[in-house]
Protein backbone atom coordinates (compact mmCIF):
# COMPACT_ATOMS: atom_id res chain seq x y z
CA UNK A 1 0.00 0.00 0.00
CA UNK A 2 1.34 3.44 -0.82
CA UNK A 3 2.27 5.74 2.00
CA UNK A 4 -0.43 8.17 0.92
CA UNK A 5 -3.08 5.48 1.21
CA UNK A 6 -1.61 4.34 4.51
CA UNK A 7 -1.92 7.84 5.96
CA UNK A 8 -5.38 8.20 4.52
CA UNK A 9 -6.44 4.93 6.11
CA UNK A 10 -5.05 6.00 9.47
CA UNK A 11 -6.91 9.31 9.27
CA UNK A 12 -10.15 7.41 8.65
CA UNK A 13 -9.49 5.11 11.59
CA UNK A 14 -8.34 7.81 13.99
CA UNK A 15 -11.16 10.15 13.01
CA UNK A 16 -13.58 7.68 14.57
CA UNK A 17 -11.77 8.18 17.88
CA UNK A 18 -11.44 11.97 17.76
CA UNK A 19 -9.94 14.71 15.60
CA UNK A 20 -7.17 13.76 13.20
CA UNK A 21 -4.93 15.89 10.97
CA UNK A 22 -2.39 14.59 8.46
CA UNK A 23 0.96 16.37 8.22
CA UNK A 24 0.33 19.15 10.75
CA UNK A 25 2.09 22.46 10.15
CA UNK A 26 3.90 23.70 13.27
CA UNK A 27 5.76 27.04 12.98
CA UNK A 28 8.97 25.59 14.45
CA UNK A 29 9.06 22.16 12.81
CA UNK A 30 10.01 21.46 9.21
CA UNK A 31 9.58 17.68 9.26
CA UNK A 32 7.27 16.78 12.08
CA UNK A 33 4.77 14.04 12.81
CA UNK A 34 2.75 12.42 10.07
CA UNK A 35 -0.42 12.74 12.11
CA UNK A 36 -1.79 14.87 14.91
CA UNK A 37 -4.82 13.69 16.83
CA UNK A 38 -6.90 14.85 19.75
CA UNK A 39 -8.88 12.18 21.56
CA UNK A 40 -10.69 13.30 24.70
CA UNK A 41 -8.31 16.29 25.06
CA UNK A 42 -5.20 14.11 24.68
CA UNK A 43 -2.96 15.48 21.93
CA UNK A 44 -0.93 12.79 20.15
CA UNK A 45 1.76 13.28 17.53
CA UNK A 46 2.22 10.11 15.48
CA UNK A 47 5.21 9.21 13.34
CA UNK A 48 4.31 6.55 10.81
CA UNK A 49 6.89 4.01 9.66
CA UNK A 50 6.23 2.03 6.54
CA UNK A 51 8.48 -0.14 4.41
CA UNK A 52 11.21 2.10 3.10
CA UNK A 53 10.96 4.61 5.96
CA UNK A 54 14.09 5.71 7.74
CA UNK A 55 14.38 3.47 10.84
CA UNK A 56 12.75 4.91 13.92
CA UNK A 57 15.89 4.13 15.91
CA UNK A 58 18.29 5.96 13.58
CA UNK A 59 20.12 8.98 14.97
CA UNK A 60 18.62 11.34 12.42
CA UNK A 61 15.14 10.08 13.14
CA UNK A 62 15.65 10.49 16.88
CA UNK A 63 16.74 14.05 16.21
CA UNK A 64 13.65 14.65 14.12
CA UNK A 65 11.44 13.35 16.94
CA UNK A 66 13.30 15.29 19.63
CA UNK A 67 12.92 18.58 17.76
CA UNK A 68 9.20 17.94 17.49
CA UNK A 69 8.98 16.98 21.18
CA UNK A 70 10.59 20.27 22.13
CA UNK A 71 8.45 22.35 19.78
CA UNK A 72 5.11 20.86 20.73
CA UNK A 73 3.79 21.47 24.24
CA UNK A 74 4.93 19.07 26.93
CA UNK A 75 1.53 17.41 27.24
CA UNK A 76 1.79 16.00 23.72
CA UNK A 77 2.06 12.22 23.52
CA UNK A 78 4.55 11.01 20.93
CA UNK A 79 3.87 7.65 19.36
CA UNK A 80 5.34 5.53 16.59
CA UNK A 81 3.01 3.65 14.27
CA UNK A 82 4.58 0.72 12.49
CA UNK A 83 3.11 -1.14 9.56
CA UNK A 84 2.76 -4.79 10.54
CA UNK A 85 5.59 -5.84 8.22
CA UNK A 86 7.85 -2.97 9.34
CA UNK A 87 7.91 -3.56 13.07
CA UNK A 88 11.56 -3.62 14.20
CA UNK A 89 12.76 -6.82 15.87
CA UNK A 90 13.54 -4.94 19.00
CA UNK A 91 11.12 -2.10 19.46
CA UNK A 92 13.42 0.50 20.90
CA UNK A 93 10.99 3.26 21.66
CA UNK A 94 13.80 5.74 22.06
CA UNK A 95 12.09 9.09 22.36
CA UNK A 96 8.55 7.81 21.82
CA UNK A 97 6.01 7.39 24.58
CA UNK A 98 4.26 4.46 22.95
CA UNK A 99 3.86 2.54 19.72
CA UNK A 100 1.06 0.97 17.70
CA UNK A 101 1.02 -1.63 14.96
CA UNK A 102 -1.10 -1.23 11.90
CA UNK A 103 -2.48 -3.98 9.69
CA UNK A 104 -4.73 -3.53 6.67
CA UNK A 105 -7.68 -4.24 8.95
CA UNK A 106 -6.83 -2.69 12.27
CA UNK A 107 -4.71 -0.43 14.43
CA UNK A 108 -3.52 -1.80 17.76
CA UNK A 109 -3.95 0.06 21.01
CA UNK A 110 -0.93 2.02 22.23
CA UNK A 111 1.71 -0.05 23.97
CA UNK A 112 4.84 0.92 25.79
CA UNK A 113 6.77 0.99 29.03
CA UNK A 114 5.31 3.49 31.47
CA UNK A 115 8.54 3.86 33.41
CA UNK A 116 10.58 4.49 30.27
CA UNK A 117 7.99 6.96 29.03
CA UNK A 118 8.12 8.90 32.28
CA UNK A 119 11.91 9.01 32.09
CA UNK A 120 11.94 10.29 28.50
CA UNK A 121 9.30 12.90 29.27
CA UNK A 122 11.32 14.14 32.25
CA UNK A 123 14.51 14.37 30.18
CA UNK A 124 12.77 16.31 27.42
CA UNK A 125 11.14 18.70 29.88
CA UNK A 126 14.54 19.34 31.47
CA UNK A 127 15.86 20.35 28.06
CA UNK A 128 12.93 22.55 27.10
CA UNK A 129 13.92 25.73 28.89
CA UNK A 130 17.60 25.82 27.81
CA UNK A 131 16.63 24.80 24.30
CA UNK A 132 14.20 27.69 24.02
CA UNK A 133 16.74 30.02 25.61
CA UNK A 134 19.21 29.13 22.87
CA UNK A 135 16.51 29.54 20.25
CA UNK A 136 15.82 33.02 21.57
CA UNK A 137 19.53 33.83 21.54
CA UNK A 138 19.83 32.63 17.95
CA UNK A 139 16.89 34.80 16.97
CA UNK A 140 18.53 37.79 18.60
CA UNK A 141 21.51 37.37 16.33
CA UNK A 142 19.22 37.73 13.36
CA UNK A 143 17.12 40.49 14.86
CA UNK A 144 20.12 42.57 15.84
CA UNK A 145 21.59 42.43 12.38
CA UNK A 146 18.31 42.92 10.60
CA UNK A 147 15.85 44.75 12.80
CA UNK A 148 13.09 44.59 10.23
CA UNK A 149 12.96 40.86 10.81
CA UNK A 150 14.88 37.82 9.80
CA UNK A 151 15.05 37.65 6.06
CA UNK A 152 17.02 35.26 3.97
CA UNK A 153 19.09 36.25 1.03
CA UNK A 154 20.78 34.29 -1.60
CA UNK A 155 24.31 32.99 -1.76
CA UNK A 156 25.66 31.06 -4.67
CA UNK A 157 27.25 27.77 -3.72
CA UNK A 158 29.61 25.85 -5.90
CA UNK A 159 27.41 23.98 -8.34
CA UNK A 160 29.86 21.20 -9.08
CA UNK A 161 29.50 18.12 -6.90
CA UNK A 162 27.11 19.99 -4.64
CA UNK A 163 26.57 18.13 -1.39
CA UNK A 164 23.41 18.54 0.63
CA UNK A 165 25.43 20.65 2.98
CA UNK A 166 28.97 20.82 4.25
CA UNK A 167 30.42 21.81 7.57
CA UNK A 168 33.25 24.23 7.96
CA UNK A 169 35.09 24.73 11.22
CA UNK A 170 34.75 28.34 12.29
CA UNK A 171 35.98 28.10 15.82
CA UNK A 172 36.77 25.70 18.62
CA UNK A 173 33.14 25.27 19.58
CA UNK A 174 31.30 26.08 16.42
CA UNK A 175 30.70 24.85 12.95
CA UNK A 176 29.22 26.51 9.94
CA UNK A 177 26.88 24.61 7.72
CA UNK A 178 26.64 25.87 4.18
CA UNK A 179 23.47 24.94 2.38
CA UNK A 180 23.74 25.11 -1.41
CA UNK A 181 21.34 26.73 -3.77
CA UNK A 182 18.17 24.92 -4.62
CA UNK A 183 14.41 25.05 -4.88
CA UNK A 184 12.41 25.87 -1.79
CA UNK A 185 11.44 22.24 -1.29
CA UNK A 186 15.03 21.06 -1.69
CA UNK A 187 16.33 23.82 0.56
CA UNK A 188 13.84 22.89 3.26
CA UNK A 189 14.88 19.26 3.01
CA UNK A 190 18.55 20.22 3.31
CA UNK A 191 17.93 22.52 6.26
CA UNK A 192 16.05 19.71 7.99
CA UNK A 193 19.05 17.43 7.52
CA UNK A 194 21.33 20.14 8.99
CA UNK A 195 18.89 20.64 11.86
CA UNK A 196 18.94 16.91 12.63
CA UNK A 197 22.72 16.90 12.58
CA UNK A 198 22.89 19.85 14.98
CA UNK A 199 20.38 18.26 17.31
CA UNK A 200 22.08 14.88 17.32
CA UNK A 201 25.39 16.61 18.07
CA UNK A 202 23.98 18.79 20.82
CA UNK A 203 22.13 16.09 22.65
CA UNK A 204 24.45 13.14 22.15
CA UNK A 205 21.94 11.14 20.15
CA UNK A 206 23.33 7.93 18.74
CA UNK A 207 24.79 6.98 22.08
CA UNK A 208 21.50 5.69 23.37
CA UNK A 209 18.70 7.56 25.03
CA UNK A 210 20.65 7.48 28.29
CA UNK A 211 23.01 10.09 26.83
CA UNK A 212 20.03 12.41 26.49
CA UNK A 213 19.36 12.02 30.19
CA UNK A 214 23.00 12.87 30.90
CA UNK A 215 22.68 16.08 28.87
CA UNK A 216 19.40 16.88 30.61
CA UNK A 217 21.13 16.49 33.93
CA UNK A 218 24.01 18.70 32.85
CA UNK A 219 21.89 21.55 31.54
CA UNK A 220 19.43 21.63 34.38
CA UNK A 221 19.84 25.16 35.73
CA UNK A 222 22.71 25.79 33.39
CA UNK A 223 22.49 27.51 30.01
CA UNK A 224 25.16 25.33 28.49
CA UNK A 225 23.48 25.21 25.17
CA UNK A 226 23.07 28.95 25.10
CA UNK A 227 26.81 29.29 25.43
CA UNK A 228 27.51 26.72 22.78
CA UNK A 229 25.45 27.44 19.76
CA UNK A 230 26.27 25.77 16.53
CA UNK A 231 26.46 28.44 13.92
CA UNK A 232 24.86 27.72 10.64
CA UNK A 233 25.57 29.95 7.76
CA UNK A 234 22.29 29.40 6.08
CA UNK A 235 21.61 31.59 3.15
CA UNK A 236 18.77 30.81 0.90
CA UNK A 237 15.99 32.51 -0.87
CA UNK A 238 12.58 31.10 -0.22
CA UNK A 239 9.87 31.41 -2.78
CA UNK A 240 7.00 33.55 -1.60
CA UNK A 241 4.14 31.24 -2.33
CA UNK A 242 1.70 32.40 0.27
CA UNK A 243 2.83 30.21 3.10
CA UNK A 244 5.20 30.83 5.99
CA UNK A 245 8.32 31.86 4.07
CA UNK A 246 10.34 32.42 7.25
CA UNK A 247 9.65 28.97 8.60
CA UNK A 248 12.85 27.34 7.28
CA UNK A 249 14.92 30.04 8.93
CA UNK A 250 12.91 29.90 12.16
CA UNK A 251 13.13 26.11 12.30
CA UNK A 252 16.87 26.24 11.68
CA UNK A 253 17.24 28.67 14.57
CA UNK A 254 15.11 26.42 16.73
CA UNK A 255 17.42 23.52 15.95
CA UNK A 256 20.45 25.49 17.09
CA UNK A 257 21.45 27.34 13.96
CA UNK A 258 22.54 30.92 14.19
CA UNK A 259 21.50 32.01 10.77
CA UNK A 260 23.73 34.50 9.05
CA UNK A 261 22.22 36.13 6.06
CA UNK A 262 24.44 37.90 3.58
CA UNK A 263 22.81 41.09 2.36
Amino acid sequence: MSRTNTIRGLIETLSTEGEALAYPDHPLVLDGPSLLTVVKTVLTASFVYTRGSRPASSVAEQARVLLARLAYPGHTVFEAIFEHDSVPESVDLGLFDSYRVMTPQSLSQPDGDDAARARVALAVESLREPHFARFAANQQGAFKDHPEGARASFTQFSPSGTPRYKFVDTGPLSLTAQVPKGTRALTISRIQRVAETFTAHDYGLGWGVSALFDVAGAVDGDYYLEQHPLRAQLTFESERIGIDANKPLRAAQFAGGLVKSAW
Binding site: L21, L36, V38, L43, L70, H75, F132, A136, Q139
Partner: protein
Protein backbone atom coordinates in the same frame (compact mmCIF):
# COMPACT_ATOMS: atom_id res chain seq x y z
CA UNK B 1 -2.28 31.25 5.26
CA UNK B 2 -2.00 27.52 5.65
CA UNK B 3 -5.17 25.79 6.74
CA UNK B 4 -3.05 23.04 8.25
CA UNK B 5 -1.25 25.66 10.34
CA UNK B 6 -4.50 26.91 11.81
CA UNK B 7 -5.77 23.37 12.38
CA UNK B 8 -2.51 22.50 14.14
CA UNK B 9 -2.79 25.51 16.41
CA UNK B 10 -6.45 24.81 17.04
CA UNK B 11 -5.65 21.29 18.21
CA UNK B 12 -2.78 22.49 20.41
CA UNK B 13 -4.94 25.18 22.01
CA UNK B 14 -7.90 22.84 22.43
CA UNK B 15 -5.85 20.28 24.34
CA UNK B 16 -3.39 22.44 26.26
CA UNK B 17 -3.49 21.74 30.01
CA UNK B 18 -3.22 25.41 30.92
CA UNK B 19 -6.43 26.15 29.02
CA UNK B 20 -8.37 22.92 29.56
CA UNK B 21 -10.46 24.32 32.39
CA UNK B 22 -10.47 27.88 31.15
CA UNK B 23 -13.84 29.45 30.35
CA UNK B 24 -12.48 31.02 27.15
CA UNK B 25 -10.85 27.94 25.63
CA UNK B 26 -13.82 27.21 23.39
CA UNK B 27 -13.88 30.86 22.25
CA UNK B 28 -10.22 30.73 21.19
CA UNK B 29 -10.75 27.48 19.30
CA UNK B 30 -13.84 28.91 17.62
CA UNK B 31 -11.94 32.03 16.61
CA UNK B 32 -9.25 29.93 14.96
CA UNK B 33 -11.95 27.99 13.15
CA UNK B 34 -13.22 31.33 11.80
CA UNK B 35 -9.78 31.95 10.27
CA UNK B 36 -10.23 28.78 8.23
CA UNK B 37 -13.74 29.82 7.24
CA UNK B 38 -12.44 33.04 5.66
CA UNK B 39 -11.23 31.03 2.67
CA UNK B 40 -14.73 31.42 1.28
CA UNK B 41 -14.17 35.16 0.98
CA UNK B 42 -12.38 36.66 -1.98
CA UNK B 43 -9.95 39.52 -2.22
CA UNK B 44 -8.42 41.86 0.34
CA UNK B 45 -11.32 41.49 2.74
CA UNK B 46 -10.24 37.92 3.38
CA UNK B 47 -6.86 39.03 4.65
CA UNK B 48 -8.34 41.63 6.98
CA UNK B 49 -10.67 39.05 8.44
CA UNK B 50 -7.79 36.59 8.85
CA UNK B 51 -5.88 39.20 10.82
CA UNK B 52 -8.96 40.05 12.87
CA UNK B 53 -9.68 36.46 13.84
CA UNK B 54 -6.04 35.50 14.38
CA UNK B 55 -5.36 38.50 16.56
CA UNK B 56 -8.51 37.91 18.61
CA UNK B 57 -7.44 34.30 19.13
CA UNK B 58 -3.91 35.36 20.06
CA UNK B 59 -5.02 38.16 22.39
CA UNK B 60 -7.43 35.90 24.26
CA UNK B 61 -4.99 33.00 24.35
CA UNK B 62 -2.22 35.10 25.88
CA UNK B 63 -4.62 36.78 28.28
CA UNK B 64 -5.84 33.40 29.53
CA UNK B 65 -2.31 32.02 29.86
CA UNK B 66 -1.45 35.04 31.99
CA UNK B 67 -4.64 34.67 34.04
CA UNK B 68 -4.21 30.93 34.55
CA UNK B 69 -0.73 31.58 35.89
CA UNK B 70 -2.22 34.03 38.40
CA UNK B 71 -0.46 37.02 36.86
CA UNK B 72 -2.19 40.35 36.38
CA UNK B 73 -1.85 43.20 33.94
CA UNK B 74 -3.06 46.69 34.73
CA UNK B 75 -4.36 47.56 31.30
CA UNK B 76 -5.16 44.49 29.21
CA UNK B 77 -3.69 44.58 25.73
CA UNK B 78 -1.58 42.36 23.53
CA UNK B 79 1.46 44.48 24.28
CA UNK B 80 0.79 44.24 28.01
CA UNK B 81 0.50 40.45 27.87
CA UNK B 82 3.81 40.25 26.05
CA UNK B 83 5.39 42.47 28.73
CA UNK B 84 4.08 40.19 31.47
CA UNK B 85 5.21 37.03 29.67
CA UNK B 86 8.65 38.53 29.27
CA UNK B 87 8.80 39.61 32.90
CA UNK B 88 7.92 36.10 33.97
CA UNK B 89 10.50 34.46 31.70
CA UNK B 90 8.08 32.74 29.31
CA UNK B 91 9.62 34.75 26.47
CA UNK B 92 12.74 36.91 26.49
CA UNK B 93 12.89 40.66 26.15
CA UNK B 94 14.13 40.79 22.57
CA UNK B 95 11.30 38.45 21.50
CA UNK B 96 8.87 40.81 23.21
CA UNK B 97 10.41 43.77 21.34
CA UNK B 98 10.35 41.85 18.10
CA UNK B 99 6.67 41.01 18.43
CA UNK B 100 5.87 44.53 19.58
CA UNK B 101 7.42 45.79 16.35
CA UNK B 102 6.31 43.12 13.91
CA UNK B 103 2.99 42.15 15.35
CA UNK B 104 1.41 44.64 17.76
CA UNK B 105 2.19 47.81 15.86
CA UNK B 106 1.27 46.67 12.35
CA UNK B 107 -1.81 44.97 13.71
CA UNK B 108 -2.90 48.20 15.35
CA UNK B 109 -2.29 50.10 12.14
CA UNK B 110 -4.33 47.78 9.96
CA UNK B 111 -7.10 47.27 12.47
CA UNK B 112 -7.59 50.96 13.25
CA UNK B 113 -6.64 52.90 10.15
CA UNK B 114 -9.05 53.17 7.26
CA UNK B 115 -7.99 51.78 3.91
CA UNK B 116 -4.54 50.77 5.13
CA UNK B 117 -3.35 47.53 3.55
CA UNK B 118 0.15 46.07 3.57
CA UNK B 119 1.72 44.37 0.58
CA UNK B 120 1.02 40.64 0.38
CA UNK B 121 4.43 39.80 1.87
CA UNK B 122 3.74 41.98 4.90
CA UNK B 123 0.30 40.45 5.32
CA UNK B 124 1.68 36.92 5.31
CA UNK B 125 4.47 37.84 7.70
CA UNK B 126 2.03 39.35 10.20
CA UNK B 127 -0.11 36.23 10.27
CA UNK B 128 2.92 33.95 10.49
CA UNK B 129 4.35 35.94 13.39
CA UNK B 130 1.08 35.62 15.25
CA UNK B 131 1.18 31.85 14.72
CA UNK B 132 4.79 31.67 15.86
CA UNK B 133 4.05 33.77 18.95
CA UNK B 134 1.15 31.56 19.99
CA UNK B 135 3.03 28.31 19.43
CA UNK B 136 6.17 29.50 21.23
CA UNK B 137 4.25 30.70 24.27
CA UNK B 138 2.19 27.50 24.46
CA UNK B 139 5.32 25.36 24.19
CA UNK B 140 7.02 27.29 26.96
CA UNK B 141 4.25 27.33 29.59
Amino acid sequence: MSEKRIETLRMIVGSHPILLNDSRRVDIVRELQRVIETKRIAGGDRWLLQVLHTTRALDTCLSRVVAQRGWTVQKPSLGAYLVKLSAKGVIVEHQRRHWQDTLVQPRNTYMHSANQMPPQRGADDLLDEMDACMSIVLAAV
